[in-house]
Amino acid sequence: MAKNNPTKEVEIIKNNKIINDFCITFSTVNGSGSATANTTLMRTFFKMGIPVSGKNIFPSNIQGLPTWYTLRLSKHGYLARVQEDDIVIAMNPSTINKEIDYIVPGGALFYPDDIKIANTRGDIVYYPIPIRKIIKESEVTPSLKDYISNMVYVGILAQMLGIPLVIIQEALSFHFKNKEKPVNLNMDVIGKSAEWAKENLTKSDPYFVEPMQGNDDWIMSDGNTAGALGSIFGGVQFTAWYPITPASSLAESLHEYIPELRTDPVTGKETSVIVQAEDELAAIGMAIGAGWGGLRSMTSTSGPGLSLMTEFIGLAYYAEIPVVIWNVQRVGPSTGLPTRTAQGDITFVKFMGHGDTDNIMLFPGSVNECFEFGWKAFDIAERLQTPVVVMSDLDLGMNEWMTPKFNYPDQPIDRGKILWEEDLQKMLDKYQNEFGRYKDLDGDGIPYRTLVGNMHPKAAYFTRGTGHDEYASYTEDPEIWEESLSRIKRKFENGKQYLPKPMIKSNDSKSGIICVGSAAFPVEEAIDMLSKDHLYFDYMRIKSIPFHQEVIDFLHIHDRIYIVELNRDGQLAQLLTLAAPVESIKFRNVTKVDGLPLTAKWIANEIRKDEEK
């Protein structure tokens, strides 16, 4: 078969090897069990020291629809998505003809030899693989055949790219938690496939991998796991949640790790409670109830769930109850694209709730930062007694990333202004025997709170979403209403000091680029691309809203500002316009929402076009 291989027509230019800098896309059918094979390859490249990122583009479906997984190897360390494929592993007959079009000239196509394809392109390399035959010859039980057939391409790639089998074995051992049987079963197929490739395929493409120095002290995780772990190290005590893509795995990670990390070694009791609620209305209600009771409390959801939670979040804003909400963003409006990524909830979350509201947002820009903001969010929520929304997204949350290892929190837990019996007595002694739940005693807009179970006869107060005075009593008094809302505004103004500051990189340019969250990956790469054209930019990644003064200053000192985001309307730009209207004439919106993570090439092109005007 290899003898008739059409690859003969394609010449590799010797000494023009492409090493550790290309992209492989695996096209499979949803539910066919390709995830183990793909993740194993990603882990293998990672262990070889090669910077690698993986993106799973999957349908809202359990079984049967096409799924793509792309691995990008980048010796320069770029982890963003790229648009073109160098190598395609096409396991899905229904999409193969389309995939051929995406392969770069000189690229390679691996496909099962029972798929009939039209060899329409003479500028790529074709590698047909007898998957059925190889599986037949291995000792796999029939029930595992479909599943394990994905390991055939792992073995073929190992041979064709030069991946050491011993590292694949290490990755598989990790995956199967050192269980010998499945590791050996998979390695057997991988070894036989590599052997077959060695004997039957002629290497005619330029792609190779080589071990390199890198990735030391880095780990592999997804943003949802990182967010859950960060929350656990932040002392989460109560979680209520309802399943929704792409947020479910965050709560599931809590279920997975809490027994291990939050069981008291002495008493054997668990210090963190998780409840799977009946819906998002109940999930946020429970979380707010627990936050009110003095527990570090959270929920996790995505757009549609957050829409349902909005009324409760308005209550928590006005009644001043701490709660942390993870919003793992997906494409809206409506049900939208449930399995695709976006940054489309920025303006919604900012103003969530009727009446005058304002919500705190944190934007993790990496998996590592998901961990960091996981614990920080509780300190901020309790210090400011208000909901804090952590704005992750599907790309960050559900994809496996390589990321610097998680750092232990560098600040002690801050529970904010809580009064227990003795604290309250001291306060009563100091302030004429009066406790007012909503009294601004310190002039920072932040009142003191007592918690249920406090046995002091003056500790109790009545929490309500209706108009209330400093003593939490019902009132419709116009002046008291105005003053209480003004105080909350002051609290937010003063509260900025507790929020993460923006990351700013200066190139002494008069032009700046701004983004939030996971858009940082393609933006930073685009900045490097543009610098090769001698176009230089200052760069700011905003980590929280409301904006720090540094954000406004950045707007002020630049003449032209590109704001890159994954939504249609330029929502971050909208909020920046509100914060600094006079600066907004400098804004250039670089926005796109097609469900896929942005690419550096697209961003660079958009900016270049504008710069050339």
Binding site: F46, K47, A171, F174, D217, W218, I219, M220, S221, I232, F233, G234, G235, Q237, F238, A240, L261, R262, D264, T267, G268, K269, E270, T271, V273, V275, A277, E278, L281, A282, G285, M286, I288, G289, A290, W292, G293, L295, R296, F312, L315, K405, F406, Y408, I413, T450, V452, G453, M455, H456, P457, K458, A459, A460, Y461, F462, T463, R464, G465, T466
Partner: protein, 350 residues
């Protein structure tokens, strides 16, 4: 009027408190509202049981009924949340300190319409707290619309005739495996107080559907949500008597063979004197049957319909520390740096 400014009368209960220590602020509900008599009986029941107000937390949703928690137990923490969502707030709030007793007050609009889901899921979880439904068949605060418990064929001034069938809250509670289901009548304070005491002593979710007439919008003689109808059609299942754990249990008022006693989890005993019906409140099927029968016979059955004192509660399903969760020191909340190192290693660290 603050409770603490009141002069104590000297009639102290077992907790060393007087009735005044259980009072709330003056009611702003209508004169004669059934909800006000329920508030009075809550005060009486808590006082007589010697509960410590600081060890009770009040929860409510939205509506006339949900305003009432300010009218009792000023020394208890309270949370007036959102329409139909008292259950979720209470569930979260009570995890903060499981030694605090939850007392939820809701209405028929709050529970049987928007809150039906949360009501049933609270029952399904057997969240240990009292859940009172002040049931008047009408939306009062919005000035008189039908609620989901209003009978078919009722006439209201602006809306006309109700064409829908009513929801029976006790029936709903029973089919969702609630562990304590009772029906009371605001016009029958003696029985109500005993039902409240039993509910407060139950370890599990105690659902108490109290027919509480709305004197302003819905006190019609032909509706079971009215005083007159209730007085004429009420049939008590039993003469309910409540005996606290620490009291010596006496059943001298009850002739042998004519009473049924149920021991609650904390050792208290509810004694039910047989009236004209031979009724077993530990049989869920019987409870459903008697409710169905009452509907056919156009009567208002009151009393303890069902109780399972040993049903596993939500808290039983967790392994919680003895110390309240909200009093745990930060050192107990954050795992060690060593734990994080191990975790990093476990995430395929290079």
């Amino acid at each position: 009027m603050m409770v603490n400014s009141e002069i104590k009368t000297g009639n102290e209960n077992s907790a060393g408190l007087t009735r005044a220590d259980y009072r709330g602020r003056p009611s702003t509900l209508c004169q004669g509202c059934g909800h006000n008599s329920i508030s009075s009986q809550i005060v009486a029941a808590c006082y007589e049981l010697g509960l410590v107000p600081e060890k009770i937390a009040k929860f409510s949703g939205i509506g006339c009924s949900s305003k009432s928690p300010t009218y009792f137990l000023s020394r208890s923490f309270g949370f007036n949340g959102l329409h139909g969502r008292m259950p979720s707030v209470a569930l979260g709030g009570l995890f903060a300190d499981i030694t605090v007793k939850g007392l939820g007050v809701s209405g028929d609009g709050d529970t049987a319409s928007i809150g039906m889901g949360q009501f049933k899921h609270l029952a399904r979880r057997n969240m240990p707290m009292v859940y009172i439904v002040e049931n008047n068949g009408v939306y009062g605060l919005t000035k008189g619309q039908f609620s989901a418990t209003a009978e078919e064929g009722l006439l209201l001034k602006r809306q006309g005739i109700n064409t829908y069938l009513p929801v029976d809250i006790c029936m709903e509670a029973l089919v969702t495996n609630a562990s304590f289901v009772a029906r009371g009548f605001a016009g029958d304070p003696k029985q109500l107080k005993n039902l409240l005491k039993a509910a407060l002593s139950h370890d599990g979710l105690a659902i108490l559907d109290i027919i509480s007439p709305c004197v302003t919008f819905h006190n019609k003689e032909n509706s079971y949500h009215s005083y007159l109808w209730g007085k004429e059609h009420e049939i008590q299942l039993h003469d309910i008597e409540f005996v606290q754990a620490r009291d010596e249990i006496t059943i001298e008022d009850f002739e042998p063979g004519s009473s049924k006693e149920v021991s609650l989890h904390d050792g208290t005993v509810v004694l039910m004197k047989k009236l004209d019906k031979d009724y077993d409140p530990t049989n869920r099927y019987e409870a459903l049957r008697i409710l169905e029968e009452a509907e056919r016979e156009n009567t208002l059955i009151t009393g303890l319909l069902f109780v399972d004192p040993n049903a596993k509660t939500l808290f039983d399903r967790y392994c919680l520390p003895d110390e309240p969760l909200n009093r745990l020191e930060p050192s107990k909340l954050r795992p060690s740096a060593d734990a994080l190192n191990k975790l990093n290693q476990s995430l395929f660290m290079k």
